[in-house]
């Protein structure tokens, strides 16, 4: 018959020794943050289509752009390729441009 181990066994996922108050804990989640308010409609709006740099994204966004031209011609689409590292948020100038000249953005395609 199997017997219990004499010794207590440490839990590899434990974080009892972490000082939760100042360090957080392993499973501690990010604070919730609200999304931006949505537009009432896209009619007459400018939407930025941002290629974030993954292979094939540009061609896919070509199709998204073509769909808007065909089905929602009042929407102006602006294509941009994010410069910089595809894994970093390093395109502040582009975000400023979108804020200044656009009303919405479609980013992609992560793969």
């Amino acid at each position: 018959m199997a017997t219990l181990l004499h010794s207590a066994v440490l839990n590899p996922e434990a974080y009892r020794t972490v000082r939760a108050a100042d360090e957080g804990a392993p499973g501690k989640t990010q604070s919730f943050r609200s999304l931006a308010p949505r537009l009432e409609s896209l009619h007459g709006k400018t939407i930025y289509l941002v290629d974030t740099g993954f292979g094939g994204s540009g061609r896919f966004l070509d199709q998204v752009q073509a769909w808007f031209a065909e089905h929602m011609p009042s929407v102006t689409t602006v294509r941009r390729r994010k410069t910089g590292n595809i894994f970093r948020d390093d395109a502040r100038e582009l975000w400023n441009e979108i804020k200044e000249r656009g009303q919405a953005a479609i980013l992609g395609v992560a793969g």
Partner: protein
């Protein structure tokens, strides 16, 4: 991409839709929300693969369904920008604290505990040593650091918050089968989380330099890259367990390596054969600015590992075959792992009196065609944007005809050599592994 979408939403007040392949979209919706952005970003899923598909297929994707909601894709995109926010999407503030895992597991049998460790993915699926309090306490004698000292906080995938202690690393060291003397190396290893993950077959390689190699009997000689040494094997295994338990790598949840990589089984853990270096060739850590008496661990990251197959032939100098094989690598960086006998030939016969001279020659002589260079998606996505910004030589290379010949290893400092092996064959590996920073093992003694 979640970072970018989150920033545009949060700081600029602009609504976004994030497009992601169906292969990874669950990461954006799940772990990214929980541990990263804190925002339930509106994702639309694109059938995978999308890269390399003809326009007709991409068009069919546009006319097809969003893989997340099942709605027509363009309707889902339009809804994503216009549909009013739900209560969840408007939420702000701190989420309720999750209940912490207890420090100790409930009493159980050895067999049940082995099963539990497998069920919780606290294993590489070989049996682990059950980390009893006594074993962990004995392991902790391998370091002067206190058990409750925080090793690092930003430990989760993509640097998300997941702090861990010295005791936790000692627990994992026990599970891997380590001796207490290995603990400073394993702590240095843990200090470098998060390790690189990718949908591609990325892998890591752990190279140890300095006096610690001999102190813990690491193998840098005969059979050093194989499963032939306790310290090499167990420290390499520890990295796998750290990746899973500390970093939280969870296949299909936080990790999506399509094939993964067999090199991940032991993370290529070995020591450099410093004693067998030809005169004038420095140990890797000394090349990187450390003292010879420092004990240093370096994690290299890469994909490819090409074997010379046979020994050096009389009519073809080793650097020539290295050049030929390296032409199939991306050009972003390379590390040659070579037997001491190869290093001696390169030094004594071919005149490469330093590792740096060999790197310089390879940088000037490895060639490939531009089309093949840009055909590598990692090169294209990492270096292509630099070319778009006008940075040379990438800007010029982007304009070249496909069959134009380029020298992809532009920077000889990106080509490294590590000497390892037992001098029973003049063999070597050409890899595209690139080193991270050297980590002090002495700091964790």
């Amino acid at each position: 991409m979640s970072h970018e979408s989150g920033e545009i939403e949060q700081k600029y007040g602009i609504p976004t839709v994030s497009l992601a392949g169906s292969n990874v979209v669950s990461f954006g919706i799940g772990p990214n929300l929980t541990y990263n952005t804190g925002m339930p970003l509106r994702y639309v899923g694109v059938p995978f693969p999308f890269s390399g598909q003809p326009r007709s297929v991409l068009r069919s994707y546009i006319e097809g369904k969003d893989t997340v909601s099942g709605k027509p894709m363009m309707a889902a995109i339009v809804d994503g920008l216009t549909k009013p926010l739900t209560a969840e999407e408007r939420m702000s503030g701190n989420p309720p604290e999750s209940t912490p895992e207890p420090r100790l597991l409930p009493p159980d049998t050895e067999d049940h505990l082995q099963l539990l460790f497998k069920e919780r993915c606290w294993t590489d699926y070989n049996p682990v040593i059950i980390p009893t309090e006594e074993r962990v306490a004995a392991m902790l004698k391998g370091t002067g650091h206190k058990p409750d000292e925080i090793v690092k906080s930003a430990a989760g995938t993509f640097g998300t918050r997941r702090p861990f202690t010295v005791e936790k690393v000692a627990t994992i060291a026990v599970m891997a089968g380590a001796k207490p003397a290995y603990l400073p190396v394993i702590l240095a290893l843990a200090n470098e989380v998060p390790y690189q993950d990718s949908t591609t077959s990325i892998a890591e390689m752990v190279v140890v330099n300095g006096p610690i190699r001999k102190e813990i009997d690491m193998n840098s000689g005969l059979g050093a890259l194989g499963p032939n040494n306790d310290a090499n094997s167990v420290i390499g295994r520890s990295m796998t367990l750290i990746h899973k338990i500390i970093q939280g790598y969870d296949e299909g949840v936080t990790g999506f390596a399509s094939l993964s990589n067999p090199l991940r089984y032991d993370n290529l853990c070995f020591a450099e054969n410093e004693e067998a270096l030809p005169e004038g060739w420095q140990p890797f850590h000394v090349q990187m600015g450390h003292k010879p008496t420092d004990s240093v661990l370096t994690i290299f990251t890469g994909w490819n590992f090409i074997n010379s197959t046979g020994w050096v032939e009389q009519h073809y100098a080793p650097q020539n075959l290295m050049r030929d094989y390296m032409s199939s690598l991306s050009g972003m960086g390379a590390t040659l792992l070579m037997d001491p006998s190869v290093a001696e030939l390169l030094n004594n016969v071919q005149g490469f009196t330093t590792k740096e001279k060999l790197a310089e020659w390879l940088s000037q002589n490895v060639e490939k065609i531009a089309q093949s260079y840009w055909g590598n998606a990692i090169v294209s996505s990492m270096l292509g944007p630099l070319g778009e910004q006008g940075l040379e030589p990438y800007a010029s290379w982007k304009k070249l005809p496909g069959d134009a010949v380029i020298k992809p290893f532009t920077n000889p400092k990106g080509i490294h050599a590590v000497v390892v092996g037992g001098k029973t064959a003049s063999v070597w590996f050409a890899t595209d592994f690139m080193p991270g920073r050297g980590v002090s093992i002495d700091a964790w003694r």
